[in-house]
C-alpha cells in the first residue's frame, strides 16, 4: 500500500505540492503528466531518495516519511536504468540480494537471462530496462516504483515484459506505481490513474473515469480528448443527485446539451472523438440530445482509424471513425454531415 498525504518536495527550483492519494496493496497505479510535471520527483520522494519537505508518505499503513530508502522495502526503476557501469549484468541483478538463484529466476522470467554474461556497456536501451527491472525485483520488494520502464523496449519485447511483470505483480501482490506516457498502458494495467501537472496532482481516479471525465480542460487535452470547448453553461434542470443536472452549454454558435454537475457559468465541454456519431442525413427521433449539422473540413487517416474534422457553426468538431465508416459514408472535404452526441457524452469541467 502506498499513501501520500499533502506530500511536497523540492527538486532544484521545481516544487511538488500537496499530493494526496491512496494506492491499495496489490494495486497498479499509473502516473500521467507532461514532461517536467513532477512525476519522477513524486516517485523519488516515495522511494525516499528525495526528501519530503512537507506531508507524509505511508507504506504498508505505516508512516515512512523519515525512513531511509534502504528501510522502505521498495524497488525503483528509472527510464534510463541507471545500471552500475562498473559491474556486470549479473552483478547488477544480484546487487541487492544474496539469493542468486531467485535473482536468476527473475532475470529468466523477464527475458534477461541471456544477458547475464554481458557487460552493461554493450546493452541496448531496452536491454538496460529489462536488467534494471530484474535488479529491482531480485530483493523481493512488495512495492515497485517504475519510471517509464518500457519506453525503450521494442513492441514485441514490451508486450512480453509487461505481461510477465503483470503476472509477477499478481503472484507477489506487488503494489506498483508506474509513470508512463502511454495511455494504452494506463488503460490496460492501471487500477488507479493519476494526472500530475505543474507539480500538483490534478486528478486521481480509475483510468476509465480519468479519460472520460477529466477534472480540467488542460487535463482533457493532455489525455487526448479531441474536442475541448471553452464557453458558458446554464442549468436547464437540476438533477436529483449531484452530477445529474441538465445543462445548456454555449461555445460561440455551438450549443450543446450536457448532463453533469453545474459548477458555474464559465466552463469547458469535453467530447471524445469516438462519442461523435456521423450520418449523411438527419436521423429520425432518437435519445441523442445533440444533433449538429456541419461540413467535413478534413479527413486524416491514422492506421485503421480516421479523424474527421467538421465545421459546426464555425466551431471545429472532431469525430473518430473507422476507415470503413469513412468510405461507406463517402466522407470527404466539403461533404455535409450530421453529428449526434448523447448528452451524457458531453463532459463539463
Amino acid at each position: 500500500m502506498i499513501e501520500t498525504r499533502a506530500l511536497g518536495a523540492r527538486a532544484g527550483t521545481f516544487v511538488l505540492h500537496d499530493v494526496s492519494f491512496l494506492l491499495p496493496r496489490g494495486a497498479w497505479g499509473i502516473v500521467l503528466g507532461p514532461a517536467g510535471a513532477g512525476k519522477t520527483t513524486l516517485l523519488e520522494t516515495i522511494a525516499g531518495v528525495r526528501r519530503a519537505n512537507v506531508g507524509q508518505v505511508l507504506l504498508r499503513n505505516a508512516d515512512a516519511t523519515h525512513d531511509a530508502p534502504e528501510r522502505r522495502g521498495l524497488g525503483i526503476v528509472y527510464q534510463h536504468g541507471y545500471l552500475f557501469p562498473h559491474l556486470s549484468v549479473e552483478e547488477n541483478i544480484c546487487y541487492g540480494t544474496r539469493d542468486r538463484a531467485y535473482a536468476a529466476s527473475v532475470a529468466d522470467r523477464l527475458g534477461a537471462a541471456p544477458l547475464l554474461g554481458r557487460s552493461v556497456a554493450d546493452l541496448s536501451g531496452g536491454e538496460r530496462q529489462v536488467v534494471a527491472l530484474a535488479r529491482a525485483l531480485a530483493p523481493r520488494p512488495d512495492i515497485l516504483l517504475l519510471d517509464e520502464p518500457f519506453a525503450a523496449l521494442d513492441p514485441r519485447r514490451r508486450t512480453r515484459v509487461r505481461r510477465e511483470l503483470h503476472a509477477m505483480q499478481r503472484e507477489m501482490e506487488l503494489t506498483v506505481l508506474q509513470v508512463t506516457h502511454d495511455f494504452a498502458e494506463a488503460g490496460t494495467l492501471g487500477d488507479l490513474a493519476m494526472l500530475v501537472e505543474g507539480g500538483r496532482l490534478v486528478q486521481a481516479a480509475p483510468p476509465t473515469q480519468l479519460f472520460r471525465r477529466p477534472a480540467t480542460a488542460a487535463a482533457a487535452e493532455f489525455l487526448g480528448a479531441e474536442n475541448v470547448f471553452a464557453g458558458t453553461a446554464e442549468p436547464i434542470a437540476r438533477g436529483a443527485e449531484a452530477g445529474l443536472d441538465t445543462v445548456r452549454f454555449r461555445a460561440g454558435a455551438l450549443t450543446l446539451i450536457a448532463v453533469g454537475e453545474y459548477a458555474g457559468s464559465r466552463s469547458h465541454a469535453v467530447i471524445r472523438g469516438e462519442d461523435v456519431v456521423l450520418a449523411r442525413i438527419r436521423p429520425g427521433p432518437s435519445s441523442a440530445r445533440n444533433v449538429l449539422e456541419g461540413t467535413v473540413v478534413e479527413v486524416a487517416i491514422v492506421g485503421s482509424l480516421a479523424r474527421v474534422t467538421l465545421d459546426v457553426c464555425g466551431v471545429p468538431l472532431v469525430a473518430s471513425l473507422t476507415t470503413g465508416s469513412v468510405s461507406e459514408l463517402g466522407l470527404a472535404t466539403g461533404v455535409a454531415v450530421v453529428a449526434t452526441v448523447k448528452a451524457t457524452a458531453v463532459h463539463l469541467c
Partner: protein
C-alpha cells in the same frame, strides 16, 4: 581590412601569445634539466644525502596524500552531495590554505603544533616531537595540498549522477555503503587524478616545510640549502632531479585524462 586578413592577424597573434607563454614556462625548466639533469641522475648513485632527501620527500608526500585521501574523500562526498551543513563556510575554510603564502602557513602550523602550543607540548610530553621530524614535513604537505585533493575529489564525485546512489540505497545500501560500492568506483579515476595532483603539490612544497623542519631535508630544502651554501652549480643536480620527480605524477595524470577522453568506462 578584409575579414580574411583580420582572421589571419588574430590567428598569428594568438599563436605568438601562446609561444611566449609556453616559452616562459618551459625555458627555465628546460634549462635546468639540460644543465643539471645528467649530473643529477649520476649523483643519485653517489650522493647518499640526495637519495635520502628524495626518499624522505616521496615517503612524506605519500603519507600526506594517503591521510588526505582517507580523511578528505568522505568530506568531498559530503560537499558534493550537499549533505554538509554550512557548505559555503566549509568550502571557504578549505580554500584558505591555498590563498595564504606558504611560509605564513608554516608559521601558523608552528603556532598550532610547535613546542609552545598545547597540542605540540602534549605530543612532546608523549615522546613525539613534531617540529623537526618527518611528521611535521608530512603535516606541512598535508596543510598546503589537501585542499587541492578535496576540491578535485568533490568535482569527481559530483560528476557521478546521485541517482546511482539512490538506486543502490533502494537495494539495501546505507548512504556510506552506496558511496563505497557505487560512487567510489565510478569516480575512481577522478579521485586518483586528485591524489596525483596532491602528491605532486606535496613533493614541490618548500615554504611551509622550511619553517617547520629544516632537517631532515626534503628535496626542495636540500636544493635551497645547496644553493645558499655552495652556489648554483651545486644546486642544479638536486633541482633537476626534483623536476624529473615531478614529471612522474604529471605523466600519470595525463595518461589518466587521455584514457578518460578516449571514453573508457571508469572502473
Amino acid at each position: 581590412m578584409s575579414d580574411r586578413s583580420t582572421h589571419r592577424l588574430a590567428t598569428a597573434g594568438v599563436a605568438l601569445g601562446s609561444l611566449i607563454l609556453l616559452g616562459l614556462l618551459v625555458l627555465p625548466v628546460g634549462a635546468l634539466v639540460l644543465r643539471g639533469g645528467v649530473e643529477g641522475v649520476r649523483q643519485l648513485g653517489s650522493d647518499p644525502e640526495l637519495r635520502a632527501s628524495l626518499s624522505l620527500t616521496a615517503v612524506t608526500a605519500t603519507a600526506a596524500t594517503l591521510a588526505t585521501v582517507l580523511l578528505g574523500t568522505p568530506l568531498a562526498w559530503l560537499l558534493a552531495r550537499g549533505r554538509m551543513p554550512a557548505v559555503v563556510v566549509v568550502s571557504a575554510l578549505l580554500d584558505l590554505p591555498l590563498l595564504i603564502p606558504h611560509p605564513v602557513a608554516g608559521i601558523a602550523l608552528l603556532l598550532a603544533f610547535g613546542r609552545a602550543s598545547p597540542v605540540g607540548g602534549a605530543l612532546e610530553r608523549a615522546g613525539l616531537a613534531l617540529v623537526g621530524s618527518p611528521f611535521a614535513i608530512a603535516l606541512a604537505m598535508f596543510f598546503v595540498a589537501a585542499p587541492l585533493y578535496v576540491s578535485a575529489a568533490r568535482e569527481a564525485i559530483a560528476r557521478v549522477d546521485p541517482r546511482y546512489e539512490g538506486v543502490a540505497r533502494t537495494l539495501g545500501d546505507s548512504p556510506w555503503r552506496a558511496a563505497w560500492r557505487v560512487t567510489r568506483p565510478l569516480a575512481g579515476r577522478g579521485l586518483l587524478a586528485a591524489a596525483v595532483v596532491m602528491w605532486a603539490r606535496a613533493v614541490s612544497e618548500f615554504g611551509a616545510i622550511v619553517i617547520l623542519t629544516y632537517n631532515p631535508k626534503v628535496a626542495s630544502v636540500l636544493s635551497y640549502d645547496r644553493f645558499t651554501s655552495f652556489g648554483l652549480d651545486a644546486a642544479l643536480p638536486v633541482s633537476a632531479v626534483l623536476v624529473l620527480l615531478a614529471l612522474v605524477p604529471l605523466l600519470v595524470l595525463r595518461s589518466l585524462r587521455a584514457r578518460s577522453a578516449l571514453g573508457e568506462p571508469a572502473r
